[in-house]
């Protein structure tokens, strides 16, 4: 052995290097720890490419002998033989002998010190490695970790990663994609935050659910990009508490409501009938103590800010089913005495628990074969982003954003340009499609292209009402935007970015000075927000990063406040999930005979199934109509068919631009009410005099189409590689005159074909896949 270096900090007063003393001590007191340290040293030396260590490792490897040839030694399909315990001890000796040869005593001592420090947080690896570690134990473990001095928290990267993966599995999900995307973006402290704010039984092993997981992942991913993108710098997530998914089971057993679990196997009408009773039974039950005290802590933490209580189902992430809007999200004004606030919060939580047994979610699960899945559901309690304005509380604006745009109003907009639905006030109006009120749509990749440009469009499609929390009444309320602006004017944050002025029948897009805004006529256009703020860039950045990192199109919910530089992320999930699980994969092996048409340009994702009728306007015949009256009448007949044919079971196929307000020859003159029951609006662009006409992309009533979920499809029959079986519309019986009397003279122009006459007992499916830019319409049984 080499002599020790004197005067070294790593030496003791004796001749023996410190590391040897440590090893001696451990061999007598903690041989297991010694074993772990020797393995670490083995790896350490291996990384330093010490040759002798490689030999030791080789010796450790089972002898690879060709089992087929020898027949008796071990081969790859046989278990490796167990080594003598003595061998392992020898290895420890050998490893440190080699270490002594190639490393200085100081280096060995320091390495041992470091690893021994790491050992201090081994408790964390142990806890994180247990998938069933009780919530209370995990909380204490993480608290203990948190208390450690920073120096003691250091650990090897792989250990840290292992702990992070363990904690992710324990708290969020086993989903491998989720784990792999989150690994490099989170720290152990991030989990400390979650667990500190998680309510649940001490011994419980529940998770926080899909919604919470999605938000956590998105937030952590975006945090790592904050340094590179200034628009992300102020991004926040609202203060949040979680209720673990098993709390609901605790609630049920605490109140002996187990028999309720069987309701899901009842008939739909029985469920519907019993549900209200069940909700009341739930409301009169007692919240378990563990959850109740947790909620009290949460209330102390939140103060009197309004809260939103959201479901966070385990099914959301484990099955890929959306459950969008199936379970409730409830707003709680959080006003009054502490007891009143607590009661209101408990009420909301219980109502969400009851919603698990609601007829709609159960039907949804039944349809997807998820009925037997257990009922566990996490809950998120989030502060509502907003500002108090008079008796109201709301964010200046909020909404939802999608990284893929399935509603493109111009060929200049690509699917990956994304789409944002913006509303003033709470985002509830952007999430739900009311069909009567309209959010402003913006494509972050092309923020300057507007759907609404004329005065009429700007007014018709302006947001008329906004959702706010009424702090006095303690409830969610819908208030007219005009009334709100008239009452509070410039007190509403960001108002100059949201409104345009309506004067003398004209819209002045940029409101300019906000002097006397209360006396002016305003409409919500978001003009300045889109033209003069960093908001479009924010969405472009966020959606691109999230889609890249997660590897799937995503959708997010957001709110802003109190200014245009402070976005809050409220939710993030894969977009395919958000769309209600519409499968837009084009099936392989569709029989050629059953295809009616295909397309490969400007396709926006979507699908329509069960189409029973085709309404077809023949382009050539339409062109030949000489009288304007007759052309107008075609539009009126379409309007009548729209009311007669079964809703969403027919498609309209016509030449050029549906709803054209210009030259009537270029498209059938219809209003939205003439087409509002169709499943899909199809425009056919046929070559005329060597030119293919531009199609409308539905711009004449684009926002109506979006809100009613009517799909749009352009067909270019003259393209190569597409199918367009025009003969269908001539070879089968035209039902027009049966359906609308007095239309004999239109029979050559307008065709109504029943799909089941083309092929008995069949209906038409049309699948549009925006990602591959392909669409196909085919007959199915």
């Amino acid at each position: 052995m080499s002599p020790l270096i004197s005067n070294s900090t790593a030496t003791t007063g004796t001749d023996k290097p410190e590391w040897k003393i440590i090893l001696r001590l451990l061999s007598e007191t903690d041989p297991e720890l010694l074993g772990r340290l020797s393995r670490k040293m083995l790896n350490y030396l291996f990384r330093r490419k010490v040759e002798k260590i490689s030999k030791i490792m080789e010796e450790l490897l089972p002898k690879q002998v060709d089992a087929v040839e020898t027949g008796d030694l071990y081969g790859e399909n046989q278990p490796a033989p167990r080594m003598d315990h003595k061998v392992l001890e020898d290895i420890t000796t050998q490893v440190f002998r080699v270490a002594e040869e190639v490393l200085s005593p100081d280096e060995i001592t320091m390495a041992l010190h470091r690893w021994l420090r790491h050992e201090k947080i081994r408790f964390l690896s142990v806890a994180a490695g247990r998938r069933d570690v009780p919530l209370g134990i995990l909380r204490e473990t993480l608290e203990k970790y948190e208390m450690l001095p920073k120096r003691s928290k250091k650990m090897e990267a792989r250990d840290r990663e292992n702990i992070i993966v363990g904690l992710t599995r324990r708290l969020f999900t086993d989903d491998l994609n989720f784990i792999s995307t989150i690994r490099k973006h989170v720290s152990i402290d991030d989990f400390s935050y979650v667990i500190k704010h998680t309510i649940g039984p001490y011994n419980g092993n529940g998770k926080v659910g899909g919604k919470a997981a999605g938000l956590f992942r998105a937030e952590k991913i975006l945090n790592t990009y904050k340094k590179s993108y200034s628009v992300l710098r102020n991004l926040k997530v609202p203060k949040t508490w979680f209720i673990s998914s098993d709390s609901v089971l605790e609630f049920i057993s605490h109140n002996a409501l187990e028999e309720m679990m069987a309701i899901k196997y009842a008939r739909q009408d029985e469920i519907r009938q019993e549900y209200h009773l069940l909700e009341q039974v739930f409301k009169h039950s007692i919240m378990p103590y563990s959850v109740l005290t947790g909620l009290e802590h949460a209330l102390d933490y939140f103060g009197t800010t309004p809260l939103v209580v959201r479901s966070s189902s385990l099914l959301e992430d484990s099955t890929g089913a959306a459950f969008a809007g199936k379970y409730k999200s409830l707003f709680v004004a959080n006003q009054g005495t502490r007891q009143q606030r607590l009661e209101a919060l408990v009420d909301a939580v219980v109502e969400i628990y009851a919603s698990i047994f609601g007829p709609d979610p159960i039907e949804y699960r039944r349809e997807r074969g998820l009925l037997d899945f257990n009922e566990e559901m996490g809950i998120l309690i989030q502060e509502v982003v907003g500002t108090r304005i008079g008796k109201y509380y709301f964010p200046p604006f909020a909404g939802v954003a999608f990284s893929r745009n399935d509603y493109r109003w111009s060929p200049r907009i690509k699917s990956e340009d994304g789409i944002v639905r913006l509303v003033a006030g709470l985002g509830t109006r952007a999430v739900d499609r009311t069909g009567q009120d309209f959010p402003v749509l913006m494509s972050p990749g092309q923020p300057k292209l507007r759907i609404n440009v004329t005065t009429d469009e700007l007014i018709r499609y302006a947001q008329k009402n906004m959702d706010v929390v009424n702090l006095e009444k303690g409830c969610l309320e819908t208030v007219g935007t005009e009334k709100m602006i008239k009452e509070y004017g410039a007190k509403i944050p960001c108002l100059p970015y949201l409104v345009s002025l309506y004067e003398e029948g004209n819209v002045q897009l940029s409101p300019g000075s906000m002097l006397n805004i209360q006396k002016k006529d305003t409409i919500i256009t978001f003009h300045n927000l889109l033209e003069k703020s960093p908001v479009p860039l924010f969405f472009k950045t966020v959606l691109n990063i999230l889609e890249d990192e997660i590897g799937l199109p995503v959708d997010i919910e957001f709110a802003y406040g109190p200014d245009i530089h402070t976005p809050y992320l409220l939710q993030c999930r894969p977009q395919s999930v958000g769309k209600g699980n519409v499968d837009t994969t084009i099936p392989s092996g569709i029989e050629k005979d059953s295809i009616l048409f295909t397309a490969n340009r400007y396709i926006m994702s979507g699908a329509c199934h069960g189409i029973e009728y085709l309404v077809y306007v023949d382009g050539d015949q339409y062109d030949n109509v000489e009288s304007r009256e007759k052309l107008l009448e075609i539009g009126q007949i379409i309007g009548k068919l729209n009311k007669i044919l079964p809703a969403k079971k027919f498609v309209l196929i016509g030449p050029g631009r549906w709803g054209s307000k210009g030259d009537i020859k270029l498209g059938v003159h219809v209003g939205y009410s003439d087409i509002n029951n169709t499943a899909m609006l199809i425009e056919v662009a046929r070559m005329k005099k060597g030119q293919v006409p531009d199609l409308s992309f539905g711009t004449h009533f684009f926002q109506d189409l979006v809100e009613a979920d009517i799909r749009y499809l352009p067909l270019y029959p003259d393209d190569e590689d597409v199918v367009f079986k025009e003969e269908i519309y001539f070879n089968y019986r035209n039902l027009l005159t049966d359906m609308v009397t007095g239309t004999e003279s239109f029979e050559n122009i307008l065709k109504v074909i029943r799909v089941s006459e083309i092929k008995a007992d069949s209906s038409l499916s049309i699948i549009l896949n925006g990602d591959s830019d392909e669409a196909v319409a085919f007959l199915t049984d």
Partner: protein
Amino acid sequence: MSKGFDAFKMAQDQFDQVAETLDLDAGARAFLREPMREYHFTIPVHMDDGTVQVFRGFRVQHSDVRGPCKGGIRFHPDETISTVKALATWMTWKTAVVDIPLGGGKGGVICDPHELSMREQEQICRGWIRNVWKNIGPVQDVPAPDVMTTPQHMLWMMDEYETLMGGKFPGVITGKPVGSGGSLGRTEATGYGAIYTVREALKRLGIDIKGAAMACQGFGNVTQYAADLFIQYGGKVVCISCWDQKDMRAYTYRKMDGIDLEFVLSITDRFGTLNAVKAIAAGYEQLSGDAWIETEADVLLPGALENQINADTVGKIHSRVKVIAEGANGPTTPEADAVLSERGIFNIPDFLCNAGGVTCSYFEQVQNNMNYYWEKDEVLSKLDTKMTTAFHAVADLAESQSVYMRDAAYMIAIDRVANAARLRGLV
């Protein structure tokens, strides 16, 4: 070979018919059948993505024999030269029938503003002016907003024109916002203008406007102001109709003892839709969208949509109705016209009845050119004079020649233009 509907051919056919009635000489017919000038040009625009896109622009000057051409600029992807020529021709007749010293023109660009950023639209506007600035102007041709063009487009165009001219020429374009060269009274002009003609028509028929009843279709800008003035004159408005976005259908709201306009406006949104609940609570009958046409009234005012009075609906018109005032464009189909003529219902044709708008544009231009702006009352009183005079000229002719009002209006308009051309020695 496809024949199809051709807008300009239709305008020519209509002209030929009237020319025949007027026994117009061949030279005048040939001259007025075609536009005097047509400009076709390209507008290259550097798009936001760095590419260059070339747009096609037009300006058609159908006739300037009575004064500078007047007519809108349309931005439309479906624009065709046939449509622009037809519309320019109709503008000539429209300015002539109200006897304002202007001619007829129309222009456009084949583009869809839905697919263009504001910057790109601005480039199109400025490019349009750079192509025709030498051929338009306060004393040559005065454009205005039209389909899918807005006051903002007009201001960009005016700015470009003034930059090229090196001076201030707000009269080059009308339809500007008040404060940027626009005229007061524009909002009221079309609705009020219609009622000036109604007032005169009732006088001629010996019906006292005080106590007269009017049934209106629509409740947009035109109908709202028409109702306002009609009530000011002592008449009552017994119904209005509107589209209900929520129910996806139109409704007629009826109150036979007359609507309370102030109340109705207070429950109407900007799109002219009434709050149904409040209306019903206040005692208004909610009827189907087409019930306005069968309502008992002295005057019918179709104020919003085309083809409302057609072969199917004309029979439903109440026997009390004596006057139909066409506030909207093209509310009556030719089949219905024949029935109305037969029944002796007095028709105030659209291009006379709703000419208040173009007359106010003329006033805007006059004020621009002298750089002196009138108060609203002055604008409206001048509008009254113009509309009243124009109405009586048409009505006198209809009476003296025993022709239908619409025919009389076309005859007087075409005769005025032909005469101006003749006096200039052109034909």
